[in-house]
């Protein structure tokens, strides 16, 4: 069982990101689960979304999770929420920030000694998609850090997931995914 927890603000696309990832993973024959804990359900409020992936049917519906990956797509949540909650020694973090990994860890001591990667998904999204929707770039960064899928396969799959959007937006998302893949440290 692979478990992923997303930290986001409502409106930043964590649910879409988690469901998009589940859609792609499902096409490879794996069982998937994608859900969210909406909290106060107001735009801008801190929220968490979750993915589970397994080779056998997923029966567990608890929200409690010891994540393998923690994906943080809003830079401030590292300080205002506990993104390390219920982690384990091997948990991998990918965090959106304009800072370097060292600067980030220095600014939030809870991340000291953890496997932390950083990428500026907000900036990438603004420069490619034109809006601060950092979900698809985070998936590009996840592909790089996890080695889950080849980039060509992943991007082809995401084009299908996003097919209802205008072509210009889809192209911008593909660029965002590639940039985050290349830039994550």
């Amino acid at each position: 069982m692979l478990e992923i927890r997303w930290h986001s603000r409502a409106g930043q696309g964590a649910v879409t990101g988690a469901k998009g990832l589940a859609d792609v993973v499902s096409t490879t024959g794996k069982e998937v689960q994608a859900f969210a804990f909406y909290g106060s359900a107001k735009r801008g409020a801190a929220m968490t979304a979750y993915n589970r992936v397994d080779d056998k049917p997923i029966l567990n519906h608890e929200k409690y999770m010891n994540p393998d990956y923690v994906l943080v797509i809003d830079p401030a949540l590292v300080y205002t929420t506990d993104v390390t909650m219920n982690d384990k020694p091997e948990t991998v973090y990918i965090i959106t920030t304009h800072m370097s990994t060292d600067e980030l860890v220095a600014s939030q001591p809870k991340l000291a000694g953890k496997n932390v990667h950083t990428v500026d998904c907000i900036k990438i999204a603004q420069e490619t998609i034109g809006k601060a929707i950092p979900n698809t770039p985070m998936l590009g960064a996840l592909m790089k850090v996890s080695g889950m899928y080849e980039m060509d396969f992943f991007k082809e799959s995401m084009v299908r997931v996003l097919k209802k959007l205008p072509k210009k937006i889809i192209d911008a998302n593909m660029e965002a995914i590639q940039r985050a893949y290349d830039e994550v440290k």
Binding site: K19, D23, V32, F35, Y38, L59, N60, H61, E62
Partner: protein, 406 residues
Amino acid sequence: MADTMELRDIEVWDGNMAAAQALRQVQVDVVAAYPITPSTPVVENYANFLANGYIDGEFVMVESEHAAMSGCIGASAAGGRVATATSAQGYALMVETLYQASGMRLPIILNVINRALASPLNVNGDHSDMYLGRDSGWIQFDAYNPQQAYDLNFVAFKVAEDHDVRLPVMVHQDGFMTSHTAQGVKTLSDEVAFNFVGEFQPMNDMLDLDHPVTHGVQTEEDWHFEHKARQHNDLMTKVFPKIQAAFDAYEALTGRKYNIVECYDMDDAEVAVVCMGTSVETAVEVAKEQRAKGIKAGVVGIRVIRPWPFEQIAQAFQGCKAIAALDRSSPNGAPGMLYNELAGTLYNAATRAVLTGYVYGLGGRDLTKSLLNQIYADLVANAAAGKPTTALQQLIGVRGPKLEFL
């Protein structure tokens, strides 16, 4: 003629989309609906399919859930295939019309996306709304995941519209935990799905002007009891064979097997948890982990809540030594519904298992595997002692001092 939608063999859908796709595939003629979280996407998706030409039907926007079910009643009495969806406060506002729909023997399908009842206001999943409707004369199915929300809708139409049944059916799923959780759903093609349910066959429809009928009549002490008795008789005797036949036909079509009472690892179980919704699946996983430790643990999931499967339940617990009934609704001054129904069912049955109750998960509070492990530990102690070692009712997963009663 509606367009066909090409679906992949497995789509990643949440429970709401799964239910909406089923409503599209059976080509529901009329949806009268008023949106409420977390059920909104069911009717929103129906409206979307309709607007894009995938359904030949009618979406009626109304001013309340009372009006929504009233619209459904009118459309169903007129002679159409009818469905809608609701949750919580919307369901509560519908209650008066729920009794009208079942008493008028109208085969309406209601997707209930289970949610807590205010106050305090809460949009998350528990079973208070589902419990509220249990004496309303509807058939109630419970889905534990999006696949089942999809499948049970087809079974619901098949059973409801059978001319020997003619009763409305609710298909329940857990708010958010199923309705907003995306999982792989094995799909049917539009043609196969529609043919399983078939063309709607009207009965006593008001638009059949050659055979005028009256709907919604008044009966006082002269006839009221006879009508209610006949409805109860049909629920007690006619519905289960039709549900079983529909489950069998669905299994033959899809390979997916449903049972009126779902038993997991119950053949030799000594301790068993009984619950509904997503909790069933989490409990099944915990029971397997208990088995790995040598505990003979099982799970019973209630698939058909109404009519209550008295005989199948009594059968399920033969050989069981301790049972926990898990209620996801505040009984507000009584034992929980499942506890009471099980006690009533097992009192004259062969089993003499120790029965205790737990109230859990109100307002979407997480049912963790850790809590389920504690319940099994209680059950093992009860089985060994041959009597309750805890209070008969415990509240679990709630903060503050331990609350237990009876």
